[in-house]
């Protein structure tokens, strides 16, 4: 009975994983399908019928709009998460040294973009940029789509950085900063050499969060950008009814690097844990 219950658990997990990976596997399988309708014309909407094996989808994936969209997405994600990490870490250090009342006031406002539906965030950005651009039109300047996307992505990422750095700061001792000052550091040096190394794990997980939010965003970018497409916007516009569909090879192009990266990170963590266990055993044996 116990054995049966145990295998039932694995079956349940297996079924759920199958459900989660079904669409990804589906796209990867069909990325090898030929979608040529007639000479030179490609129509991807026919995902569901096998019409012959080909690798040409992979050659097509980097050319044209899809390649541009992929590049823009990566650029925006990298720049915005670096800037958000810098502003957010500084903000977390500042917030941590605030008095209780002003701290909870700032934290409440920080939750705004996290609680707000991203639909509303996107709309407010759209109206803000329309307003600013109409003001700037008098002096013949315009915020470009790139600038708009960057500002929007930085804004919704910063709170995630703050909320990953703050817990770490709370664990770290205030004495560290004081000690660095006593040993002759300037306040800036004290932060750079004593505080920041201590909270580094929080900063890096904040950076990863910011990167994820930016890479995965569709709604805010959709409302903010007029002419330039990030990957999500590109896929959305191609997926709508009456268009030529999305090249399924995109799924493989995103999936393989992602899985490789996660595997490396996790294997390293596992190896570290193992090492730690072995060391623990050695210490116990010495005792």
């Amino acid at each position: 009975m116990k054995r049966f219950g145990r295998s039932l658990k694995y079956v349940y997990l297996g079924v759920m994983l199958l459900f989660l990976y079904l669409p990804i596997v589906y796209l990867i399988v069909f990325s090898f399908n030929s979608f040529h309708v007639n000479r030179g014309n490609v129509d991807y909407t026919n995902i569901g019928k096998c019409t012959g094996f080909t690798l040409s989808n992979y050659a097509d994936v980097f050319t044209g709009e899809a390649g541009k969209a992929l590049l823009l997405t990566l650029e925006i994600a990298l720049i915005s998460s670096v800037v958000a990490t810098i502003i957010g870490t500084a903000a977390a250090i500042g917030i941590n040294s605030m008095k209780k009342r002003s701290r909870s006031a700032v934290l409440s406002v920080s939750q705004l973009p996290m609680v707000n539906p991203d639909l509303v965030t996107g709309i407010t950005f759209m109206m803000l940029f329309a307003f600013v651009n109409s003001l700037l039109a008098n002096v013949n300047i315009k915020i470009s789509d790139f600038g708009k996307l960057l500002i929007a992505h930085i804004s919704f990422s910063i709170p995630y950085v703050i909320f990953s750095v703050l817990p770490r700061l709370k664990q770290s001792s205030d004495m560290l900063y004081e000690a660095a000052l006593d040993l002759g550091c300037s306040p800036f040096q004290a932060l750079l050499k004593a505080v920041i190394p201590d909270i580094m794990p929080g900063i890096s997980s904040g950076f990863i969060m910011a990167l994820t939010m930016s890479l995965d965003d569709f709604v805010v970018s959709y409302f903010v950008s007029d002419l330039r497409s990030t990957l999500s916007i590109y896929i959305y516009s191609r997926a709508a009814h009456g268009t030529k569909g999305v090249n399924p090879a995109l799924a493989t192009i995103i999936f393989i690097p992602l899985v490789t990266m996660l595997l490396i990170v996790n294997l390293r963590r596992l190896a570290k844990e193992r090492e730690y266990e072995i060391q623990n055993k050695k210490v116990k044996m010495k005792k």
């Binding site: 589906y26 040294s97 703050i162 569709f218 995103i254």
Partner: protein, 269 residues
């Protein structure tokens, strides 16, 4: 130089780009072509069709949240009871799809629903041909999209649960079922609450899924707002609908905060 000054660039940034732009929604709701009037605002409020769509979206979000909780709780529970190294690896498998572009995954589902399922079951017409079929299809994809967001907080809470409490419960004579319902479940309420908040509000405003599933013949509240801003721009209607949405989100956040005893630091109210 005091350390708290480090927060100032951020505070200025937030006021400029997050807090101030919220005012635009109120501006456009009550200002039509430069004159202040509540007429459009009230007209939109009186329009029953918007309220019907909101009701449909809320019901859809309820359904999504309930199914995600029912499917996700066992996943988190099983994972939290596994050996740590194994659980770490399998839980990563559960969260990898969150990192795949979700528009792409939704697109894949639309293909599966339009082509693969009819082929497999020899159906003469697609599932999304009827209105019930479209509802089921949208619900399915919403559950798919939000399931990891339910599992993640549940897993975090359940894996931190003190295992000696379970032993204590057993020592005091409780069987497995009693232990689960009287010890594990009450202790995992913070995880349940944050899971529900991570699914319910985004599910109300989801507009990508209904736009892509069923060829755009099914619309939820998010689609109506999208329509009022991007497709047939009428900012006064869109802004009013956004205000209704904000009020709704505020109420549900308040209710959730009431249940959430675990939270520290600032909360929105």
């Amino acid at each position: 130089m005091k350390r708290k000054y480090f927060a100032y660039p951020y505070i200025v940034w937030m006021i400029l780009f997050i807090a101030a732009p919220m005012l635009f929604i109120f501006y456009y709701a009550f200002n039509v072509n430069g004159t202040w009037t509540a007429e459009k605002f009230l007209d939109t409020l009186k329009n029953v069709s918007y309220w019907k769509t909101l009701l449909r979206s809320v019901l859809m979000a309820f359904g999504t949240t309930a199914i995600c909780l029912l499917l996700g709780y066992p996943i988190a529970y099983i994972l939290s009871n596994m050996k740590k190294s194994v659980a770490g690896f399998i839980s990563v498998l559960f969260f990898v799809p969150m990192w795949m572009n979700f528009v792409l995954r939704t697109y894949a589902w639309s293909a599966i629903i339009e082509y693969a399922i009819p082929d497999l079951f020899n159906m003469t017409r697609s599932l999304t041909a009827t209105s019930t079929g479209r509802t089921v299809a949208v619900l399915l994809v919403l559950v798919y999209d939000f399931l990891p967001f339910m599992v993640l907080p549940l897993y975090n809470t359940l894996s931190k649960l003190d295992k000696s409490l379970l032993e204590a419960s057993r020592d005091l004579g409780a069987n497995g079922r009693t232990t689960f319902f009287r010890v594990v479940l009450p202790l995992s309420i913070p995880g349940i609450v944050s899971g529900i908040t991570m699914v319910f509000v985004p599910a109300i405003t989801a507009f990508t899924v209904p736009a892509l599933i069923g060829n755009g013949n099914y619309s939820l509240y998010g689609n109506v707002i999208d329509d009022a801003f991007k497709i047939n721009p009428e900012y006064s209607i869109g802004s009013t609908l956004s205000i209704i949405l904000l009020v709704f989100v505020l109420i549900s956040t308040l209710i959730m905060n009431h249940f959430d005893t675990d939270k520290e630091g600032g909360s929105i109210l």
